[in-house]
């Protein structure tokens, strides 16, 4: 008999399965479940973008592109970044088109982290950072944010965790799962701390377009920060292009040129048809994005108010498409709350502790669903809370 447990590498074996995935495996086996768990847009990719993919196929654009991506797309992305946050990147040297934001995160971490290096991870956050750091032999160091601070990173919390081994800070704003954003005024003190150090920032701005009540500010806009930041973004959320697997990383040339080797050996290049479609997204789809953002905003406003009304205290998220209400008043743990809600009232949400220990006492609710769907789900959650109160 093969003992696969001995064959599988230690680094792979010790990785924990994603807390989101585990939970939804149960939901998938049940009938009549309404999900509020999905982390992808409910919109289809705008037709103009799909059309240009079809056109690319018709023209036979089916071969590899340059490793770093189609030059036409890299230029479009750089002018998009300039248009959005007024930061200039050179398409020839400072940008790689990646297989989703996911690959960009992986590249950034792998290109920088040596075994023993510490990587600061702001939690609650998307589930992939710590496992990738662990795979490189780095040491994930958690910085916990709190509901009372609006789940924002503060300079004090950051300073406390910096050591002489700190290599990288992962800055995930607008944040999944909390919906928190960092304003310019809130980023300034962070930049102030970092400018004194050699610590790099991996700024995961995948939800940048989904910023409500004001525009997204990238840390790269701040003095001295472009040279110490890897900017990660992609097409999945803003352009409803999750299945196209396309993102990008922009950063200082000496790092980008080195990490291009990893991308070249592991990936070759991002999907060609997706890249042609993405050119259309970058150049002519601002209007479609605005329409989707307005729609999310309507749902966001309604949902926050509705959850507060039924007794789930909900801090107002200003970004992404999630709300992260507190369920502490029920006396249940996040896991218990989600399991009971699923089994008794057929609503699937994600327990907050899936995004880091400090997410305990919260649940993540996605509003990438129609208002009607959200209203039905909130009715069911309300019934659940009433049942709990009756004891």
């Amino acid at each position: 008999m093969m003992d696969y447990n001995k064959i599988i590498s230690e680094r792979c074996r010790i990785l924990k399965p994603s807390g989101i995935r585990k939970f939804f495996d149960i939901a998938a086996t049940m009938d009549g479940v309404i999900s509020l768990g999905v982390g992808e847009p409910d919109f289809q990719t705008p037709w103009a973008i799909r059309r240009s993919a079809i056109a690319a196929l018709e023209k036979g654009k089916t071969v590899y592109t340059a490793n770093a991506g189609l030059m036409e797309l890299r230029k479009s992305i750089c002018s998009y970044i300039k248009r959005k946050v007024n930061v200039e990147y050179e398409p020839e040297k400072e940008l790689i088109v990646t297989v989703g934001g996911s690959e960009a995160i992986d590249l950034g971490i792998r290109a920088l982290v040596n075994p023993g290096d510490e990587v600061l991870i702001v939690e609650p956050c998307f589930v992939c950072y710590a496992p990738i750091v662990t795979l490189t032999g780095g040491v994930p160091v958690t910085i916990e944010t709190k509901a009372e601070n609006g789940f924002k990173l503060t300079a004090e919390e950051l300073k406390k965790k910096i050591t002489d081994k700190t290599k990288l800070l992962i800055l995930p704003f607008p944040n999944n799962p909390t919906g928190a954003i960092m304003t310019r005024a809130e980023l300034e003190p962070i930049a102030e701390v970092l400018r004194e150090t050699n610590i790099m920032v991996l700024s995961d701005e995948i939800y940048a377009e989904l910023t409500y009540e004001g525009r997204h500010v990238s840390i790269t806009e701040l003095d001295g920060m472009k040279e110490r930041t890897l900017l990660v973004n992609g097409f999945s959320k803003a352009f409803a292009m999750t299945g196209w697997r396309l993102g990008y990383l922009a950063g200082p040339e000496p790092i980008v040129s080195q990490m291009l080797k990893i991308h070249q050996y592991a990936i070759m290049c991002s999907p060609t048809v997706s890249q042609y479609a993405a050119v259309e997204a970058m150049n002519s789809c601002d209007g479609e994005v605005v329409k989707m953002v307005n729609e999310y905003n309507i749902r966001r406003r309604w949902l926050v108010q509705a959850l507060n009304e039924i007794g789930l205290t909900c801090f107002e998220p200003k970004g992404a498409f999630y709300v992260f209400p507190s369920i502490k008043s029920t006396g249940l743990s996040s896991q218990e709350f989600c399991e009971q809600l699923l089994y008794k009232h057929n609503v699937a949400v994600v327990p907050g502790d899936a995004f880091g220990e400090c997410g305990e006492g919260h649940i993540r609710i996605s509003y990438a669903y129609s208002l009607k769907h959200l209203m039905e789900a909130v009715d069911r959650i309300s019934e659940f809370l009433n049942d709990l109160n009756k004891g």
Binding site: S18, V33, G39, V127, W302
Partner: protein, 158 residues
């Protein structure tokens, strides 16, 4: 256009609760406003968009009509005469190579042919008519008639 009207034009079955969320108004205000629109005649009515197979014994035609406008009242007089017929579903004055556009429904082709021959073309001032029968509808008021979008997203996000 008022946001409320815009939303109702897309989907008149939205509940006051949904409309309130979408317009940032209270439910009571939404209800009041809709009543106002109905009373003042800004909202004339509501209708369903129905798939063709639910409406099998009906034929629809689009008729282009050229007319001679009258000196004192232009197209209005003749338009009023035409619109009084129950069969006429919609009537619009157009710019371009013809004047009036009619949509009309009947139980069969013959019924529509009779309307054109006996009622429409005999009206004083009607110069000519061109009748186009509807073969298949693909999209109406922003809604696909055949394909219904389904949520294909898996339960699982990474």
């Amino acid at each position: 256009m008022d946001t409320l009207i815009k939303l109702l034009k897309q989907n008149a079955r939205l509940s006051c609760k949904e409309l309130a969320a979408m317009t940032d108004m209270s439910e009571a205000d939404v209800e009041k406003k809709i009543k106002e629109y109905e009373h003042s005649g800004i909202i004339k009515g509501y209708s369903a968009i129905v798939a063709d197979d639910a409406d099998e014994d009906s034929v629809t035609a689009f008729i282009e009509v050229k007319v001679t406008p009258k000196a004192d009242c232009g197209f209005d007089d003749i338009a009023k005469t035409i619109m009084m017929y129950d069969e006429v579903e919609s009537l619009t004055l157009m710019s371009g190579s013809f004047d009036l556009a009619i949509t009309i429904s009947g139980t069969n082709y013959k019924e529509i042919a009779l309307f054109v021959a006996q009622r429409l073309s005999t009206i004083d001032g009607v110069i000519s008519t061109t009748t186009h029968f509807t073969l298949k509808r693909y999209k109406e008021k922003g809604i696909f008639i055949e394909d219904e979008a389904t949520d294909e997203r898996g339960f699982v996000s990474p």
